[in-house]
Amino acid sequence: MRLVLKVCESEVVDMSQTAAKVATVALVGNPNTGKTSLFNRLTGLRARTANYPGITVDLRKGRLKLPNVTADIIDLPGFYSLDALSPEEQVAKAALTGQLEGESSPDAVVLVLDATSLRRNLFVASEVLDLCLPTVVALNLVDAAESAKIRIDIEDLEKELGCKVVPVSAKTGKGLDELKRVLDGMLVSPLAIIPEEHFSCTAGCTGCQYSARFAWAERVANATTQTPETVGKRTEAIDRFLTHPVLGLMAFSALMLGVFYLIFSLAGVPMELIDGTFGRLGDLTSSLIPTDVPPVLWTSVVAVISMAVVSICYRLAEIKRTPKSMALAVAVSAWVAWLPVDDFESLLVDGVIGGIGGILIFLPQICILFFLISLLEDSGYMARAAFVMERLMRFVGLPGKAFVPMLSAHACAIPGIMAARVIESWRDRLVTILVLPFLTCSARLPVYAMVTALLFSDSPTKAALAFVGAYMLGIGAALSSAWCLKKTLLKGEAVPLVIELPAYRMPSLWNALMIVTERAIIFVRQAGTVILLISVILWALATYPKMPESALSVKAAGKVAALRAEAENSETPDELIAQADHLVASEGLAYSFAGRAGRLVEPVFRPLGFDWKINVGIITSFAAREVVVSTLAIVYGIGEDGAEDEKTLVETLRRQKRPDGTPVFDVATGLSLLVFFVLAMQCLPTQAVTKRETGSWRWAVFQLVYMTGVAYVAAAATYQLVSRLAV
């Protein structure tokens, strides 16, 4: 084989210009080299997601202040070769070669190599060095290499690679000052030339370029590294168990059980805390709203506050200030300012605080799940999980790698869909995205809790079985849908697995906390923008048109009058007045757009056993499924607060009767409602992310239609079957 010598040419750069601008530094390397840990160490909490036009992959960017220059560090996705296959790899390649829209090649590259696996990492190193960009090698995991008694001759390695090599440990922080010093020097001085030529096979090679590069990597690794025979023994011993066809699956099941046990056992206290805090915030807001302010002053103050809130939302959602967006902000503020005080209070307490609180309550569960996923990924176990799940997943048309997005989707489908970017094949990625929302996310839990309490409050075993059954139904629906897609619309087999099984490592708590913080910020940002918007729209639909007193039904008017009259002579008038108010609110909801829509679709949902009041819940929860609980609380006349008290809600729902005197929430209707919410899409933000990741609304609409169809048919079948069995 003829190897071609490639010599990098020098490039003279104006020092003053380089020093004046913010330099761009790309952090590159194989997956599992501790790149993200190093990025977190270098940039701390200053990292943000960098959005580039035309790509769907989020790149993390963080600013690093060096003594003489400021640099933006971009954490590029790990790759095995510049022959990029997955979207993440393609973006990494585009960023390195200056093909990202509006971006030139980076001013410098930090090439992260794993000191415990140099032979493997040098393949990518050879490709990156061939790009002739100023490069410094960060030889990471030197602490792990030292404890494994791996000896690396740094000087020899520098000579072989033709660039500076800095031993670092992202875990302990060792060597970071030296890395910053080298980076600073590289950015302010005329760009360093790679003095030593190295062999490559990119031009004129008649043989296999991979083989040639690996041969070079092996030669360099052998010349610079001494590795004892004991290296890898521990990983080998653990893997005999964890990758075993039977024991591996058992270990996987036990681990997943442990993960979910920890989520539910640890999240309870913080969830109650968030719930209580938002409840108190609502009460406080109600008490702070004055009732005797002159209208002009009131309108002006509310308009200013409203403009401030909209500005914050724009900032959170990164919406640019254009004439259109500003006009919308002014229009919204003017509308809010002209609301009557009662409506304003309702908007603030029920729409904004209630809406955001209803979402943020799931934050603890999401944080715990991502913390555990991060630890498992860092330890090297996730690759084993994909390995043991490969056969089952491929049988239904999913790749083994789909396992990680599926696990994430149990917290929330959105990060799950985003995690599907690691899947190389477009078909496999699309199937994964389309079936992920079937998996039980945190937002479904309040619905499960309500229905199981409603049906099986006297039997914890039955309630637990229903809960587990709902989870299993979601998993079964995802897997069987993938199989159906494989046989019909997206024909073909999933791409077979080839996956690195990295050495087991002690996970970094610091790194896990950083990832959780980032995820939490994304979630809160979403709650403050998309969810807030949805909450306000739903509030408006459930509030308007306002019902005049004269429109109250005769029966309801009589009951309200009776309650108010009784309150005048009662020792507990507040309770009776509250009952009357809830009755009026219930009638008001029936009169609203949402209520009218509920009646309109009554014939459609009758086969599922739903009455118009449940339909209102189905409609209002179209954008966010958890909203159904608070809607049912309102529609059945117990008010928003009732939704927080599960006993009150369940008791009230249990008392509801149909016109023929039978209970509304019998076993058949309850199970039908449960099945519907396990399978239905009912999440607008997920739809938006599906559109973004697939590049068109076509797949998002398809997902909505087929999931709703499956949910409808399954719920109707459940109702019809159970009601006949009961008879």
Binding site: L85, R119, F123, F214, T243, F387, P496, L497, E500
Partner: protein, 94 residues
């Protein structure tokens, strides 16, 4: 000198060190294998046979599906493989 016989990696039933004879050209699939160092002329150590199987290339353990291991043609060692621990095979094969 005995000519080694070639066989698909998927047909290997026990641990051992093999010489990669060829990787069938099959678009992206062969690129995916080659990126891991599974290409002609390189050594592949089978650690755990089966579907998927665990192999070691370039000092790294890699999990490979049967569909892909069928594409990898390896040279069988001249003497029979023993099913003992893979470690003894790593340095000298048979």
């Amino acid at each position: 000198m005995q000519t080694p016989t070639v066989t698909p990696l998927s047909d290997v039933f026990g641990p051992g060190v093999f010489h990669c004879h060829d990787v069938a050209e099959c678009g992206e699939a062969s690129v995916r294998l080659k990126r891991f160092g599974i290409c002609a002329g390189r050594e592949i150590e089978v650690i755990q046979a089966g579907n998927p199987m665990v192999i070691r290339v370039c000092g790294v353990r890699v999990g490979v599906s049967r569909e892909l291991s069928e594409m990898i043609v390896v040279e069988e060692p001249a003497c029979p493989l023993h099913a003992a621990g893979s470690e003894s095979m790593r340095v000298g094969g048979c």
